[in-house]
Every structure is written in C-alpha cells, then in structure tokens.
C-alpha cells in the first residue's frame, strides 16, 4: 500500500517538475520573439506549448537512469528520485520568483545528486562524470553561444544594414517565428523525455514495469507532454521579460541572431553528442547579440545575477534534495514523509504565486508593451 502511495507521489511530483520546466523554459524559445513583436505574447506561448506537446512524441527513447552516469544507478530509489525532484522544483520556483533564467536539467541533476549523497554518501556520486557532463558544458555553452551570436549579428548588419528598416524588420520577425518554433519542438523532445524517464524508473522500481529498458506506457508519454505544454502555455513571464527586454532592448535582427544562432549551436552540439543547456546557450546568445552591437547596451549587472544563479543551481538544488531526503527519512520509509513534504511544497507554491499575483501588473502586459 505504502509503495503504491509513494509511486503516485513520485508520478505527481515528476509531472509538477515537468510543468515548472515548461513555464521556466518558455523564455528560451519565445522571449526574443515577444520582445521584437515577431509574435504576440499569447500567440507565442500558445505556439510554443503546441510544439512542446508535439516534440514530446517525436522521441521516446527515455534515459535508463536519472542523472545517468553521474549517480550510481543502484543507489537511486523512489525516495531519492522524489527528493531530487523537490530540489529541482524548488530551485525552478526560486529562480522564476527572481525572474532569472536557469537550467532545469542542472537543477534536476543537482537535486538527485544531493539526495543520493544524503542517502548513501559521497561514493554514490561520480565526480569526474559530473565535471565532464555538467560543469564543463555549463562553462562552454554560454561562451560558444555568446561568440557565435556576436559574430552572427555583425554579419547580419553587414548584409542588411543599408536596407530599409521596415522590410528588414519584417523579414527577421518572420525568421524568428521559424527559430522559435524549432526551439520549442527541440525543448519538448529533450525535456519531456526526462519526466518520462523519471516516471518509467519509478514504475520499474515499483514493479509495474519490467525488462531491461522498457518503453514508457502511453499514459506516461501523454501526461508528460501535457504537463510540459501546460507549463509552457502558462508562461514564465518574469523570465520572459528578463530575457526579452531587461538585458537590453533588442531589434528583430538581434532577436534572430540570438535565437537562430543559439538553435544552430544547440542542435550542432546535440549532433556531436555534446548536449548543452538550452537556457545557457540562448541566454549567452542574447548577451552576445547585444554586446556585439554596443557593449554598453547590455545590463551587465543583470547578466552577473544570471551567472550567479547558474553557479548556484547545482549546489542549491543538491542541498534542497539532500534536506528533503533527510526530512523524508525522519518519518521512516513509508509515504508519510513524502506526503508531508508535498503539502509543504504546495503551500510554498501557493504563497509565491499569491504574492506575485498581489504585487505588480501581469508581466504579460509589460512584455507586450516593450
């Protein structure tokens, strides 16, 4: 009975993470398009939500392990997964609250690493793999994207700089719709898979699925796709505003250079087997496209805050994951601990959303006005 309840809690928490992943990462695909008026805000998040949903069905080759190769797979239990998810959700909510883009994948890895550390100690963590698969790409992605988008915007201005702004802006707005669509599809393919993988793992641990690498059941695919699409449609407007207009006021050519260049970097990296964070790549590209035009146009203080959030993602999510695991185990190995933690998390979410709704105008309106 207890294992059934824990399974339900893990599935619900995984879908909640998927939802926060969607609304947290909406900005990567649509922020520049909204900022340059290539798409109306609601149209942008609607299109992105549909493509995230479709993307979730493109590939269902789920990972065999959460944080595969980084954490000893034998040490991953449903409680560790649950604690890792809570760490990731908490960090997603905190960064959303402050309007800072950060990697949901790194938050999930951090959460699972912290929970596994609390469960079995340092032997469960493969430090070399953590460095190779998470830390090095986290340093590489923004730098490559920054330089690439900088080069792209300089080439773009060279190509079309002497043409009438009206037709150029229309052209690049159209290009942004294509690049935003590609990024949304790519996001759905990548990130919904993680949730499918988590739920599949939980089903295997529960004994509901068997086999060395079983495909996720249809209800898992549909629910993961729906959760990420719903999160995307709700839209993390605070982060959209940060990426779209707070870093600097971008023109359509800059928006396309950031988004198109960023997408090309991401897909090339994926093709080479060196997957990079979408958030790190697109944010780096946004900064690069702004800095190449005029260095002083970029709000470097805000860029610094984003960098600090990136640096804190892994340790902060790990700390929450470890604490969650510890608190959960105080109540034994049953479902009581995870249930109480879920109630606390729901209360925290209600408080944060409530506070944000009470203060200030809807960011959607502000984004549309910029």
């Amino acid at each position: 009975m207890d294992s059934d309840i824990i399974l339900v809690i893990v599935v619900a928490t995984a879908l909640a993470f998927d939802f926060t992943n969607g609304f947290h990462d909406t900005a990567n695909a649509v922020a520049t398009s909204i900022s340059t008026r290539a798409l109306a805000p609601k149209t942008a998040v609607g299109l992105s939500a549909i493509l995230n949903f479709v993307g979730a069905f493109i590939s269902i080759k789920v990972a065999a392990t959460v944080a595969g190769g980084i954490v000893d797979a034998d040490q991953i239990t449903t409680t560790v997964i649950f604690a890792g998810l809570i760490g990731a959700i908490t960090w997603n909510l905190v960064t959303w609250y402050f309007g800072l883009p950060s990697s949901s994948s790194h938050a999930l890895i951090g959460g699972v690493v912290g929970a596994a550390f609390a469960a079995t100690g340092p032997d469960a963590i493969f430090g070399g793999a953590l460095l190779e698969k998470v830390i090095v790409p986290a340093l590489v992605a923004p730098v490559v994207a920054f330089v690439t988008a900088g080069a792209c915007i300089l080439i773009t201005y060279r190509l079309v700089g002497r043409l009438r702004p009206g037709s150029v802006n229309r052209g690049y707005r159209l290009g942004q719709i294509v690049s935003a669509s590609l990024l949304s599809l790519s996001h759905g393919t990548n990130d919904a898979q993680k949730t499918m993988g988590i739920i599949t793992l939980a089903l295997i641990a529960h004994g509901s699925l068997s086999g060395p690498s079983p495909d996720p059941p249809t209800w898992v695919i549909v629910s993961a796709a729906t959760a990420i699409a719903a999160g995307t449609y709700i839209g993390g407007w605070r982060i959209i505003r940060t990426m779209g207009s707070k870093i600097y006021k971008m023109d359509p050519a800059q928006g396309f250079a950031a988004q198109g260049g960023g997408a090309a970097v991401l897909l090339t990296a994926s093709h080479l087997g060196f997957p990079l964070s979408t958030t790190h790549s697109i944010t780096g590209a946004v900064l690069g496209a702004g800095a190449a035009k005029r260095l002083s146009a970029v709000r470097w203080g805000l860029a610094g805050n984003i960098a600090v959030a990136w640096a804190l993602t892994l340790p902060a999510a790990a700390a929450v994951g470890a604490i969650t695991y510890g608190v959960s185990r105080i109540f034994g190995t049953g479902a009581l601990g995870p249930l109480l933690i879920c109630v606390c998390l729901l209360a925290l979410m209600a408080a944060m959303f409530g506070k944000r709704l009470r203060h200030g105008p809807p960011v959607a309106t502000a984004a549309a006005d910029t």
Binding site: G55, S59, E132, T148, G175, G260, G261, A264, T268, S270
Partner: protein, 78 residues
C-alpha cells in the same frame, strides 16, 4: 570517455559557430534578396529584381535545408 568528449568539445567550438553563421547568412540572403527585389521591381529594373529574387531563393533553400537537418538531428538522437 573524456578524450572522446574533448574531441567533441573541440569540434563543437568550430562547428557550432559555422552552422550558426550558415543559418544566419542563409536567412540574411532571403531578407536581402526580397527587399532588394521589391525595390528593383518598384523601380522597373526587371533584371535586378530577378537576380535578387534568385539570391533570396538560394537563401531560402539553404535555410530550409538547415531546418530539415535540425529536425533530423532532433528525431535521430536518443
């Protein structure tokens, strides 16, 4: 494992910017060609309009190819 990833990293450093530049130049050709073709057509310069339309068409083919490659990368990974 680390050697393989270092090789991928080095390849990424030149291949990713190259892919991005191809995408941006391709769409730039579409924007440039379309805008210049429109101006030429309004001025009655038919040959120039056709030439610029050709530039836009080549850019469009390149850009579409890049999108298709992106979709193939997306669907073939795993």
């Amino acid at each position: 494992m680390i050697a393989t990833d270092s090789a991928a990293l080095l390849e990424l450093v030149w291949a990713a910017p190259l892919a991005a530049v191809i995408v941006v130049v391709a769409w730039g050709m579409v924007v440039y060609g379309t805008a210049r073709a429109g101006e030429a057509r309004r001025d009655g310069r038919t040959a120039s309009a056709a030439l610029n339309f050709g530039v836009a068409a080549i850019g469009g083919v390149l850009f579409t190819t890049a999108i298709v490659i992106g979709l193939i990368v997306m669907t073939s990974k795993g």
